[in-house]
C-alpha cells in the first residue's frame, strides 16, 4: 500500500508540474528561439571563424546541453516560489506520501528538460545526421542522467538556501558551470587551471558524452563517472533539502 502511495504521489506531482510548465508556451518558445538563433546565426558564423575542426557541430551539441540546463536547472524557480509563498503546505494537505512528493519534484524537473531537449535534439540530428545505435544510447542515457542531475541541483539550491539567497546562488552556480565547461570551447583551448576545473564540471561531462554519441569524440569513462557521481550527490542533497522543508512545515 505504502509503495503504491509512493509511486502514485510521485507520478501525480511529476505530471502536474510537467503540464504546468508546458502550459506556458511563451517560456518554451523563448528557449526555442534562443536555441534556434544561437544555432542558425551564432554557431554557423563562429564555426567558420574559429579554426577548430567541426566547431559548428561542437557548438550545436553545447547549445543542446545548455537547453537541458535552462529547463531542468531552472525548474528550481517553481519550487523556490512555492517555498517563498508558503504554498508547500497545501501540497502537504493532499493525500500524498512525502517521499513520493519529493522524488516527484526531481522527476518533474528532469522530465521538462527531456521533453524540451527533444526539439533541440531533432534539430541537432538534422544538422549532423543520425548517430549510430550505440551513439543513440549514449545520447539518450546522457540526456536522462543530465536532466535528473541538473533538476536535483536546482532543487538542492532552492531548498538549502534562504529565499533571498536563492536567486544569487543559482546565478553564481549557473555562471560558474557554464563558463568553466566545454559547452562553447574545447579543453585544448582553455588555460590550464580552467581545464582542470572543466574535467569535474557536470555540463562538460554531459556535453562530452553527447559529442561522443554523435561521433565527434571518444566516449570517456571519466565523463560517465563524473555525471553519475554528481547525479547521486545532487539527488541526495535535493531529496534531503526538500524533505527537510516538508518536515519543518509539520
Amino acid at each position: 500500500m505504502s509503495r503504491r502511495l509512493f509511486t502514485h504521489s510521485m507520478l501525480v506531482i511529476a505530471k502536474r508540474d510537467f503540464y504546468a510548465h508546458f502550459r506556458s508556451p511563451s517560456t518554451t518558445l523563448f528557449l526555442f528561439i534562443y536555441f534556434i538563433t544561437g544555432a542558425a546565426f551564432w554557431a554557423v558564423s563562429l564555426g567558420r571563424l574559429v579554426v577548430v575542426p567541426s566547431y559548428f557541430q561542437f557548438l550545436i551539441v553545447g547549445l543542446t546541453v545548455l537547453g537541458i540546463y535552462n529547463t531542468s536547472f531552472n525548474y528550481m524557480n517553481v519550487v523556490s516560489t512555492e517555498v517563498r509563498r508558503g504554498y508547500m503546505k497545501y501540497l502537504l494537505a493532499l493525500p500524498f506520501n512525502r517521499g513520493g512528493l519529493t522524488v516527484g519534484r526531481v522527476l518533474a524537473g528532469a522530465a521538462q528538460g527531456m521533453a524540451f531537449v527533444a526539439i533541440l535534439l531533432a534539430f541537432a540530428v538534422a544538422m549532423m545526421g543520425l548517430p549510430s545505435p550505440l551513439g543513440t544510447l549514449i545520447i539518450l542515457g546522457t540526456i536522462v542522467a543530465l536532466s535528473i542531475c541538473l533538476s536535483s541541483l536546482g532543487l538542492a539550491i532552492a531548498t538549502h538556501f534562504r529565499p533571498e539567497m536563492i536567486d544569487p546562488m543559482s546565478d553564481i552556480v549557473g555562471l560558474a558551470l557554464i563558463f568553466t565547461s566545454t559547452l562553447y570551447y574545447p579543453p585544448n583551448l582553455m588555460p590550464e587551471p580552467m581545464r582542470i576545473i572543466s574535467v569535474g564540471n557536470v555540463l562538460s561531462a554531459g556535453a562530452n558524452l553527447m559529442r561522443a554519441g554523435f561521433g565527434l569524440q571518444q566516449a570517456s569513462l571519466q565523463d560517465a563517472t563524473s555525471l553519475l557521481i554528481w547525479s547521486l550527490v545532487f539527488g541526495v542533497l535535493s531529496i534531503q533539502g526538500y524533505y527537510r522543508q516538508l518536515k519543518e512545515l509539520g
Binding site: W42, S45, V50, Y55, L175, F179, Y184, L189
Partner: protein, 251 residues
Amino acid sequence: MKVVLGRDVRTFFTNFYGVGFRTLVVVLETVIFAFILSNAVPPGAVGRLTYLQFFALGSLVVSIFWASYNIGRDVYWDRESGYLNYLMSLPISRSEIIAGRSLGGSFRGILTALPLYVLAAILVPTTALNILESLGVLFVFALGLCGLGIMVSLSVREETRARLLNTFLSLVLIRSSTAIYPVVAMPVWLQVGARLNPVTYASDSIRSVTVYSQGSSVPVLDITIVLIFAALAGTIGSWLFSKMIEGGPTE
C-alpha cells in the same frame, strides 16, 4: 523632460541586481568566452583587431541594446498600469514626455555600458577623444533603439506577444549583426541580413571610431546609417507614442 528622464534612469537601476548580473554576464563573455576563442581565430580574420578586442567593443553595443531597447517594455507597462494617465495630469507637455522617455532610455544604456567601457579601454588602448566620440555614436544609436523598442511594444496589445516579439527581435538583431563576429565569417544569406541590420553599422562604427588614428578613414557611411536609423526609429516611435497618448492609455 528632466523629471521623466530621471525617473526612467532611477527605476532601471532600482533593479540593481538584474542590471549588475547582466553586466557581469557580458564581462564574463568577454574575459572568458572571447579570450579563449581568441586563440582559435586566425590573425587578420577580424581586421587589425584580435578577436578579444573585436568582441569587447561589440559587447558595448550588445549591452546598450538590452538597456535601451527595454524602454519599450516600460512604456507598455506604464500604459497597462495607468501611469501614463498620471504623467499626463502633470504640467508637462506631451512632447516632453516622449523626448524624456527616449533620452532616459539612452542615458541608462550609456550608464550600463560604462563598466564595459573600462574593460574595452584596457583591452583596446585608445585616446580619450576616440572614447568620447564612440560614446556619442552609441548615444545616438541608443536613441534609435528606444524608438524601435517603443514602436514594437506599442504595436502589440497582448503582453505575452509583446514580450515574445521583443525577445525574438533582440536575439535576431544581435546575432545577425557584426557585434559578436565579423561579416566575413557569416554565410552569404546571413551577410545579406547583416547588411540590413542597424546593429551591424553601430558595431562597425564603434570599432572604427575607437581605433581611429590619423591617416585612417572615418566610417562616414556607418555613422550616417546609424543617424538615419536613429532619426527614423525615433520619429516613428515618438509618433506611435504620441498617438497612443491621444487615444488614451487603455485603448
